[in-house]
Each structure stands twice: as structure tokens, then as C-alpha cells.
Amino acid sequence: MKIGVVVNEGPYTHQASDSAYQFTKAALAKGHEITRVFFYHDGVNNGTRLTVPPQDDRNIQQRWTELQKEHELDLVLCIAAAQRRGILDENEAKRQGKDADNVAEGFRISGLGQLIEAGIQSDRLVTFGD
């Protein structure tokens, strides 16, 4: 089955991102195709490479990056939501005249159209949020 995943909450404060990760991993293990993981609202905070969780805790961003590498996942951060929250890739940082960028490896920034497209192209769109 083709499954699209939507993550609407940031890491650590909410369970949503953890659940989305566990779901994605389990779906892949069962042989399903993950068409895209779309991060919206505070979910875009999952894609900053500057988080430094305690060593005895899970590294949520790192986990997504590793899963992306292993399965060539399409991890998309919504550009409008990301800009509001200070999540910028190199191009955006340059365009907005900012002195740093922070999008983690394996994530890309794109528009809301990618969320709609995931809904059209997937058999199921599964939302994780509050």
C-alpha cells in the first residue's frame, strides 16, 4: 500500500513525531511504500540539525535522517511553516539574508502542494498530531 505520513507536532513536547517514526518504520518493515513524510505546523522542528537532546534520550531528528538514508524517504518540511519557526535551508537563508541555516541532512524544504500531492498519490494519508 502507498502511505503518506503527516507530522503536525514538534519533537519531545508531543508524542506525535515519535509515533509517526514508529509507524513509518513498521510500515516499511511490512513492505509498504511511504510516498512522503510531510512535516507541518510545529512538525517542521523535527528537521533542525541543531537539537542536542541528552545522551540517554532518543535523538528524534537523527532517527529520521537515518531512516531517510536507509529507505530513501522523502522528508519534506513545509516552507511557510518552517520560515515562521526559523527553519531555513541554505538557499532560503541566503534569500532571506540570514547568517545561518539549520535543515538537517535528509530533509528538504518545499511547499504545501507536496502535502496535497501526497494525499492524491497515496492510498492512505495518516496524520500524527494532537
Partner: protein, 137 residues
């Protein structure tokens, strides 16, 4: 049978318009999604019914009042806005407290028709069951 390339998208709005950003960012998805020529509807329930109330004024909280954007939805062929009756009643609201949102029906000499339809919880359940994609905010 309907065209398989067109899916039924429903955007569920369950949160108050202000206090969190969910309502505003949900509307942004609806406006972008309108360009994709899908069969779109919106549902308003729980505190989400406050999003459609007439006379919103955000001066006191320093946040943009985005409710006028709902009036543009008709121009994007987004004209099925279902409001759950039980949610309205639980909050002491009636249909007359909501904005008058209309769309122009080109198949009926561009007659203005209401976009908002108040439905019961059971009716909404049936409408939800008929959808291909539901996005909940």
C-alpha cells in the same frame, strides 16, 4: 463511477481560530489545495465552529484576524462547509452567529448560494465516511 483522478478531500477544523496557529495554517492548506482541482469540503466541529463566527475582532491580542479569508473560498470553488450542529449548540451558538459565506453557481446563472451547511453529528459521520482523504487540524 467518478473520475478516479479526483479525490474527495475533507479538511477537519476542530480548534478555535486564535490561541494556536492550527486554524490559520489549516486555511493555508485549503487555499493551496484549491489549485489541485479535487473535490474539497471543510468540516467545523468542537471549538472549530468559532472559526466561522461573524464579527471577529483580534485588536486586543495583536494577532491578525484571518476570518475574511473564508469569504474568498467560494471563488476557489470551495463551497461545501459543514458545521456540526451539536458543536454549535454546546457553545451557545446558532447558524445566525456565523458569517454569511456564499459561492456563485455558474450552472445556475451565477446565482449566489450559501456555502455553510449545518449538519448533525450523524450526518457529518456519513459525509466523513464518503471521503478519500481527511486532514484533521
Amino acid at each position: 463511477m467518478s473520475d478516479e483522478s479526483i479525490k474527495k478531500f475533507m479538511y477537519m477544523n476542530r480548534k478555535a481560530p486564535y490561541g494556536t496557529i492550527y486554524a490559520l495554517e489549516a486555511l493555508e492548506v485549503v487555499l493551496i489545495g484549491a489549485a489541485f482541482d479535487q473535490d474539497v469540503s471543510l468540516a467545523f466541529l468542537d471549538d472549530g465552529v468559532f472559526q466561522l463566527t461573524e464579527g471577529q475582532n483580534t485588536d486586543g491580542i495583536g494577532v491578525k484576524n484571518f476570518s475574511p479569508a473564508f469569504r474568498a473560498l467560494g471563488d476557489y470553488d470551495v463551497n461545501k462547509l459543514y458545521v456540526e450542529k451539536e458543536s454549535l449548540e454546546a457553545r451557545g451558538l446558532a447558524e445566525s452567529d456565523l458569517m454569511e459565506l456564499v459561492w456563485e453557481d455558474e450552472d445556475d446563472d451565477w446565482a449566489e448560494k450559501p456555502s455553510i451547511k449545518v449538519v448533525s453529528r450523524d450526518e457529518l459521520k456519513a459525509i466523513m465516511g464518503d471521503q478519500d482523504v481527511i486532514m484533521s487540524f
